[in-house]
């Protein structure tokens, strides 16, 4: 693993507990706040706001294992290293902040950030995919040992 990818991996691991805090908050709301369970939309979006960063941070960590052996320039590798975590951070912002008010019946304009996050993730996925199709860079195998 390259030092650059190790650095990003370290930051990602430090971010994971924030997802845990969000999960603990939602659990408290589910158990103790009747108004939360009565608002289906808010429950749907906040559940999604917890699940997506959880899964996407794991996906980001896995992507870091692949990006170093992708045939991409160092600049494009940084696009991949940052696109996955950026999407993982933007997605919950959209889901949580778009229905912040307990009585919200429809999401506000911040829900559009979710579409941006999806687009950012898609860019990361496609660029990494292209890099892997192009094969391993010369000498990568030797450097792994």
């Amino acid at each position: 693993m390259s030092p650059q990818s190790r650095l990003v991996a370290g930051v990602l691991l430090i971010l994971v507990p924030t997802v845990e805090i969000g999960g603990a908050s939602i659990l408290t709301l589910l158990i103790a706040d009747p108004s939360y369970t009565q608002n289906d939309l808010r429950q749907d979006l906040w559940r999604a706001g917890h699940a997506h960063p959880g899964v996407w941070l794991v996906l980001s960590l896995v992507a870091l294992r692949y990006v170093d052996e992708a045939n991409l320039s160092e600049g494009i590798r940084w696009v991949v290293r940052l696109a996955f975590p950026a999407a993982a951070i933007l997605m919950p912002l959209a889901f949580f902040l778009s229905v912040l008010a307990p009585e919200a019946r429809e999401p506000n304009a911040l829900i559009n950030v979710a579409y941006v996050a999806g687009l950012v993730l898609a860019v990361g996925l496609l660029v990494l995919g292209v890099g892997l199709i192009r094969g391993r860079p010369a000498g990568a195998r030797a450097a792994e040992g």
Binding site: L41, D44, L45, A48, A51, V55, V58, L59, V62, A63, R65, Y66, E106, P107, I111, A114, Y115, G118, L121, A122, L125, L126, L128, G129, L132, I133, G135, R136
Partner: protein, 130 residues
Amino acid sequence: MEPTTLLPVISLLSLVSVEYGGWALLGFLTGHGQLGEFREQFFRAGHAHAGVLLVLSLVYFLYLDRTGYSTGVQWLAGLLLLVGIIAQSGGFFIHLARGQKDRSSVGTVVTRTGALLLAAALVILAVGLL
């Protein structure tokens, strides 16, 4: 091409299609057309399982590369996993289209079959790592 080179690319591209499903689901949840509770539940299950299991597949291929298996066995294990994932999560979508609430359907059978296939793939990997 090596299985552990090509199969991760298939998973990455499949994740884009999972995103497309999520985009549609968000549309349903925020009121552009209604699915109803039953269909919404199974749409969510299909979306979530496909997403998480494809991330699992990316981890799987990293470990598959470390086994002593021949290329042939690696192809078999990797494709078994991917077919299992498609069936397991795809079954939920078949169920929401063809099934009824509180009843099993061809969709739930496909889901259970897919789960068995991906379990088999996981056991093959575990044995190869021992």
